[in-house]
Amino acid sequence: MVLVFIDQADGHVKKASYEVLSYGAKVAEQLGTTAEGVVLGAVPADQLAALGKYGVKKIHHVANDALNHFDAQVFTKVIAQVAQAAGSKVIIFSNNVDGKAIAPRLAARLRAGLVPGAVALPETANGFMVKKNVFSGKAFATYTINSDIKIISLNPNSYQVTEGSGTAEVAPFNATVDAPKVKIKAVNKASGEVPLSEAEVVVSGGRGLKGPDNWALIENLAHALGAATACSRPVADEHWRPHHEHVGQTGLTIAPNLYIAVGISGAIQHLAGVNRSKVIVVINKDPEAPFFKAADYGIVGDAFEVIPKITEAVKKLKGMA
């Protein structure tokens, strides 16, 4: 059986979970077995039953209050109990913030081989092989998992969500839940904004924007597109933008459908964080900027003149103007 970890925040199933559910259902089909889900913490039962449309038959729900706050150690022990009770041979996570914290713990606990950052379905014809990104997106590697239980952490935005019909059976699971050792004191979330790691469209600014006061240019375009905002490393280093917007080899790695780079030269370390984006648009006044080599569409021009025109055109397209 294939077990999929369904990640939630504040009682809402995260978007990344739809992707891993679709992926898990496909893996199960490939192995001639079924996919089930596991969710920890309070989530309305109808929301869980509706997840059946992504191909899972059953959802194990551990609705203990201690699980409303995230603690990787506590979560791992609970998921291990569900996996063992259900006899799971393949366990799937999103390689998102929570997945990165739990999957390796669970792998060590169950002595299960882990492939973090998978980008494709496993090849199961001859052994169990999973393709993953390595060298920060500059290459990929195919890993063979040798253990009985296998864990895959799927990179966000690597697998097409497939919606069918059907509802899942929601089965309450009684687990032993430890008291968390990590106590959460405060959560600072920019409300209403699209989280960068989940965004389908990202508008990113570099040093070419000259200073933090010019960011309205980026924000207006992002707003029109319903996009998240990102930036290059020097922009975060100089505190023009918060650190969590920094993408690249030493920042966040993202793979949106559309990445629009404004006033960013396209240094190799920057590209490493964004080169898995499906379509890359580069706007730079220097025709020699290396970013153009990695781009699908480009405009050689001054961002201060070009971006407002693009923003207007987007607003027109979306009926916002």
């Binding site: 390796p104 669970l106 050792k181 004191k185 920019a190 459908n257 990695a294 405009i299 050689v300 021009g301």
Partner: protein, 247 residues
Amino acid sequence: MKILVCISKTPDTTAKIAFTDNNTKFAQDNVQWIINPYDEWYALVRAIELKEKDPSTVLHLINVGGADAEPVIRKALALGGDEAIRVNTTSTDSFYIASQIAEVARQGNYDLIFTGKETIDFNGSSIGGMVAELLDMPYVSLAIKFELNGTTATITREIEGGEEICEVNLPVVVSCQKGMAEQRIPNMKGIMGARTKPLKVLEPVAADTLTTVSSFGLPPAKAGVKLIPAENAADLVRLLHEEAKII
């Protein structure tokens, strides 16, 4: 107070990525090796700062790797730390590597174990979590800030679309990223001193190898950029809508 910082050796960020032996090995010719930036800039420097604040702190570095990792370990010692331990194996399996670190950590009774967020070559983000599980310690991943007050740590970590501030009593394993500390350049005194700091070599303990790398590959090259004249900037939006069909 005893701190253990995990140090990994990675190719320089500008290294050419190519493979040999029928795409089963990374081509190492002319590659410059560096300390994995997350390990160096964030984990190690923050640990050094903690030791500067409380000089009674014992700071050890650990690398699981072959003898060719020693120049990189010396570089790390030039930044700071009392001694380094190298567990002599070239395994690439994260569980095998984590088992080695956990064994050293068990023997050394560390209060705090730092790793980088991930290595820039294998991008696993796994070692910290595995070590924590093997030692049954709490794990705070993707930390951007770390403050210590007695034996209680206040840690800010990344979550989707923001940050979370949490509190945990030592011992704890923390994976570190940007924000934890600022990059430092080793000075002459540090470089000279690093030569005589102890670098212990241990043989690995028995552990399972759960994964192996079967092959590598490079992504297909891009078709080439379509340039749109700046005067017709609005045309970009039409192309993204009609041709690329993504907005």
